[in-house]
Symmetry: C2
Subunit: 418 residues, 2 copies
């Protein structure tokens, strides 16, 4: 049984394809989401369905796989059963938990309502709504009064967290404000929007080499994003971000500062690291349960003294490894050697013609990295339909500087589903 149809869970399911082992894939959503492009949904560049694909369709032709839409709430490791929200109990022989991570407000969960994060499709449409409505409200205000402070506050966007998601979101909001929307308003000038990226450590994209991380910062600043490093948020309200003595009046605050693992550790009642990730053995199994594995963002797999990163390639490699492990065990063959994560490199995009690519010895930045970033992301999407649709919309956005998915829809509150 695989719980979670993200990158890790799907890789595990596919790895078991030719084994004939009957397999149940459980997810609480009916679709696999390509999270690396979620920020483009949040900034009106893409549609949700362009980066999502029904899990049933993905596994349609894998006859040993059954897909179940349901939310796991408990794992009974001793009797080998998972319990779903609707109280159904589903027994397993082998269990792979690939339940991912959610955002981490580091003890300030009350900030979630004020500063939404970007993890689900609903989060993305909520952020899109907030960004687009900010400009509408500023435009509306100026028809009746000319309180410039209030207008500036409405047009200030603060992104907290300078990792890839924060950088991508800040860059995309800057492009939206300074390119896509410019001709659409009569009272305000969207180019005057203030976009701040706040990072606690000394540099943005800290996991990249210093030269690439400096390039990312310069690129952001060139796009009009103010970058504040070494800055910790101490308080958030609906119209202000406070960092120690610094008060930033801002009506739009988005959170990209950290993740915490899904409750897999709690379900298994075993030790977790401070981010809530399950400490796993060198085959991803958990202590005392050789038939239960935890992979992806929910797991802390320590290699060379530090946990492997919480990125899609690591989850995919882990899923494939565990599938081989289980298949070998079932077939009575020799088990594979302990897992080793192979890091093929890191990629992040900042904006038009600006990306960074850290392939170890090879470091790329700028236009070439940006094109390679686009090509690899299209390649990794699932299904030719989505590849074609994303490629076409990017091409359109590139040529026109426009953003086509500028819809304000749905209720203005973070989704109940995370």
């Amino acid at each position: 049984m695989v719980v979670g149809a993200g990158f890790g869970g799907l890789a595990a399911a596919r790895g078991l394809r030719s084994t004939g082992i009957a397999l149940t894939v459980i997810d609480r959503r009916n679709f696999h989401l390509f999270q690396p492009l979620l920020y483009q949904v949040a900034t009106a560049g893409l549609n949700p369905a362009d980066i999502a694909w029904p899990v049933r369709s993905i596994l349609r032709n894998q006859r040993n796989a059954t897909v179940l839409l349901g939310e796991v709430v408990e794992v009974d490791a001793s009797s080998s059963v998972v319990r779903l929200q609707d109280n159904r109990e589903i027994p397993f022989d082998w269990l792979i938990l690939a339940t991912g991570a959610t955002h981490n407000y580091f003890g300030h969960d009350e900030w979630e309502r004020i500063a939404p994060s970007l993890k689900t499709v609903e989060d993305a449409t909520l952020i899109r709504r907030r960004v687009l409505e900010a400009f509408e409200r500023a435009e509306n205000r100026l028809t009746t009064d000319h309180d410039d402070d209030k207008t500036r506050q409405l047009m200030t966007f603060v992104i907290i967290g300078g990792g890839p998601t924060g950088v991508e979101l800040a860059g995309a909001i800057a492009e939206l404000a300074k390119k896509a929307l410019t001709a659409d308003f009569r009272n305000i000038d969207p180019r005057s929007a203030r976009i701040l990226l706040i990072e606690g450590s000394p540099s943005v994209l800290g996991q990249f080499s210093p030269s690439l991380s400096a390039f990312a910062r310069r690129s952001l600043e060139k796009m009009g994003v103010e970058v504040q490093v070494d800055t910790h948020v101490t308080h958030c309200t609906e119209d202000c971000v406070t960092c120690g003595d610094l008060h930033i009046p801002a009506a739009n605050i988005f959170w990209a500062a950290g993740v915490k693992a899904s409750p897999a550790a709690r379900w298994l009642n075993i030790a977790a690291d401070p981010s809530g990730r399950v400490k796993v053995k060198d085959d991803f199994s958990v202590d005392g349960h050789p038939n239960i594995f935890v992979i992806g963002d929910s797991a802390a797999y320590v290699q060379d003294g530090k946990p492997i990163p919480g990125i899609a390639p690591a989850a995919k490699q882990a899923g494939a490894y565990v599938a081989t492990h289980i298949a070998s065990d079932v077939a009575g063959k020799a088990l594979p050697k302990p897992f080793r994560f192979r890091n093929y490199g890191s990629l992040a995009t900042i904006g038009r013609n600006a990306a960074v690519m850290d392939l170890g010895p090879l470091r790329l930045k700028g236009r070439l990295a940006w094109w390679l970033w686009g090509i690899t992301h299209i390649f990794f999407l699932i299904g030719n339909r989505n590849r074609l649709l994303v490629a076409m919309q990017w091409f359109y956005n590139y040529l026109t500087f426009g953003r086509g998915a500028r819809l304000i829809v749905g209720p203005d509150r973070p989704s109940a589903r995370h």
Copy 2:
């Protein structure tokens, strides 16, 4: 001032383009919605953004037009002011109300929660969610018990109302169940879904000629839709539709049985017809207010003894006419002759290779009508981006029988915005 950025309101705004008359376009949504294709969003064939376009972008280059996001709640005709929900008052010299229509439950508003209609993007994603979840729930049920009656109820879809929307929705749900989903489930066979279309009058697509209407019925039946004509719904509950003595156990009920006009008549405190449409004069102005016009689905414009139909071409023609009327009046030129609606024909689609086209002397049905339907709808979309995206997805859906936008998202309740 134009209230409403649907087909009528946009046509009026564009008609005033070269006049230099300063113009405000008010809509409560930030986008124009191409409603004729909304049923394809509800059945996972298209994305919301494919059939919507920001009003600001549409009017970006029309420098005499200002777009205001806001909801009109009152019109003070005597002092020439409209009031918005946030209490702002906006004065006008000329007013064009093009506020459309909403669904009509004919006194049974309590059915709205049970049987949603298809008017907004939120309605469409709600219906999509209900349709997709029905299959998921049926699949889930069969893993635990084999109560066939309950499963059949979950897989029964009742569409109430056999006009174009009802026919299109029934046909598209049939295609989804009987083609797109077939290989995706393990316990249920989506092809066994029961789809019923209920119509009160003696025929579906009653506004078409009898031969086309009979063709539509045969096509639906060939696709596996049961068509019940001369049948009136007397009661709806969450799991049953009652039509007199007939009880249809069904967990999925959708409403396409009628529309009622927006509250324009109430705002103006003047006479309305039974559907709530404002009785307008032969230039669309209202009695006693030669500077206030009502067009589109909100107006009852009587021509040759009966109201012109509530369809997009009628609204567009009315918008263009009123723009000319106002421009002539402002310029001191002769006013145009009374409006006459030119009916270029009616079009409706039933499913793959099946559509009907009633062009008066020329009547088409089947494959040719279907292709013409597709081509005209792509032509009438706004923006080449949307044309290209819709064409591509249709081509993909046609080749693969697949439906790409199968996402279950958002809260399960009708939107508060109508």
